[in-house]
Symmetry: C2
Subunit: 383 residues, 2 copies
Amino acid sequence: MPPLEGETATTTHHSNAGNNGGIDGNKSRVTVVGSGSWGSVAAKLIASNILNITSFHDELKMWVFEETLQSGEKLTDAINRTNENVKYLPGIKLGNNVVADPDLDNAVKDANMLVFVTPHQFIDHICKSLVGKLRSDVEAISLIKGMEVKIEGPCLISTFISEQLGINCSVLMGANLANEIAEEKFSEATVGYRDNREIAEQWVQLFSTPYFMVTPVKDVEGVELCGTLKNVVAIAAGFVDGLAMGNNTKAAIMRLGLREMRDFSKLLFSSVEDNTFYESCGVADVITTCFGGRNRKVAEAFAKNGGKRSFDELEVEILQGQKLQGVSTAREVYEVLRHQGWLESFPLFATVHEICISHLPPSAIVNYSKRKPILPLSEVSAH
Amino acid sequence: MPPLEGETATTTHHSNAGNNGGIDGNKSRVTVVGSGSWGSVAAKLIASNILNITSFHDELKMWVFEETLQSGEKLTDAINRTNENVKYLPGIKLGNNVVADPDLDNAVKDANMLVFVTPHQFIDHICKSLVGKLRSDVEAISLIKGMEVKIEGPCLISTFISEQLGINCSVLMGANLANEIAEEKFSEATVGYRDNREIAEQWVQLFSTPYFMVTPVKDVEGVELCGTLKNVVAIAAGFVDGLAMGNNTKAAIMRLGLREMRDFSKLLFSSVEDNTFYESCGVADVITTCFGGRNRKVAEAFAKNGGKRSFDELEVEILQGQKLQGVSTAREVYEVLRHQGWLESFPLFATVHEICISHLPPSAIVNYSKRKPILPLSEVSAH
């Protein structure tokens, strides 16, 4: 019988699982950098686990961008007093071993495991301010979605963190909404790592709970790209919803989208693995995003209006301040496809952008007969 | 740049695409064996295509299991008079080159391309009656879902046809509901073929239209197994719906199910390819079946009732005569897993069956912590 490919989740806790343990036998220390809803859920997951792993210090630091609440209390004080993130994840106990700290330098200085989970627009500033202030043996993981896909290549946030700070950075992505995990509803995630399987196992151990299954995959680029490219597929799915085309059509569009995510990622990074797209970060996140999510919602409204009201206008009306990412990612991806001569191999990605900018009507999302047939990419690259 | 794996759809029509064209320069002739709703849609697709392919005879024969309509007219006469299958696909013109024939021997005798699309329980009888009555150069394709998964191996319907009739048999599976394709809503399918790519291209050519995209995959076992195993995943998805666990959880369960479909198929047939499960027959059909479909629906009702009303009872009440397949497939798969010692590697498949027979509550569908962690199958096979 052949051994199968793919890697499997480790849900058991080993107390000495090859942990990089800190200097002089000190215990590992974790800091979560960020305290939005997802950061708070990450803190809750990790806080419950480190109490059961003897190689980890019991305390979990969480860096909080300080705010003053309407009551006049500081957010960090409120979190430390109530053990809840009263602003971004109210009603959920984080664990009494979570300590909120408004001082970034102080929050990270003892940590050898750093979890980055800030809005993507803050990471540049945060990294710059952390240069030279970290332990030499520190490992990082990024939960941040929102890279730009530039013509010269996608700006992976994990790569940015690695380069700015001179440290190794894994990623955690997947089909997970903070509120549902906070309520301990079953879901999953994928850890993408670069080389060191032991480090990946540690991250798996830190995040896994019976209701949150984490699988390590040696493909940091593939895993991180999923978190960005899925938003383009969600726009396509929203068009199908707006045109009331039914589940068969939607399933076909989601599948074509997943395939283009895979093929595009493989063209950008030859190290990307096919099987990554079977993980939570791939197929499961595509399903979640194409049935819920803001990109789908605004695209549905766009198609219902026959493309006559712009995405910008609908975004303001429907999302009330939240921002769409899929439309700008679709534009960036389109620029890469055009620049590389790959447009014909990615009819769904190309069509999404052309609908967004009103060069095609929303119904074009299911009309590929006017495009040339999809070619094997080997042929495209020979053009 | 690396050439990517996977195969791509051929949607253009070539008039001489390596067609096995019949003896003495005769044109190819196609017969559809079956005339339910899916058979009628298959006839409609093929009938429109053969008119545009010079190497094919214009006429398409469709074998119809003769019935007398309430009006007293024979079904074949009604189809030939109105050009519609008035009983199984009313309101849809099949193409005036479709000729319904109640005589099976007569319908198939000149054909060199046979499309099998009967209910699965009829195929045994049909094959037996066709022995010795086919052209020697005939190629077949099966659109039939519903194999049994026996301990000695799954009874692939394509293999059964091949062995009974001594002919090659491909399969066509995918996320497609007859009525939606009949209305020309965009969808897809996958042709699974054994060795001969030219034959696969011919089937693709016969079925493809601008609204029906067909992709050939050299993996007849993987493609056909998808059409059966997806029903087990749909039962799992129905439990999640019945327990109102939300989209994240459902996406996770669908993903785990897709992965078990892939891994189970690979253990049964070493020739099965990972990428088959990215095709329409895999991920897209899982999505369609887990959001629509009768297996999902009855499983949802089962979970809502806390497992207190049996599947048999709910099936009668909800489906009114239609039959569920997922529950019996789950039992058959469970028997194989137990027999082979693979139960621990397939926690979702195992749990579905144990819920169906009330050994576990429906909520167990998201509770894998009491099962042992999922092991790499290489370890399982060494047990």
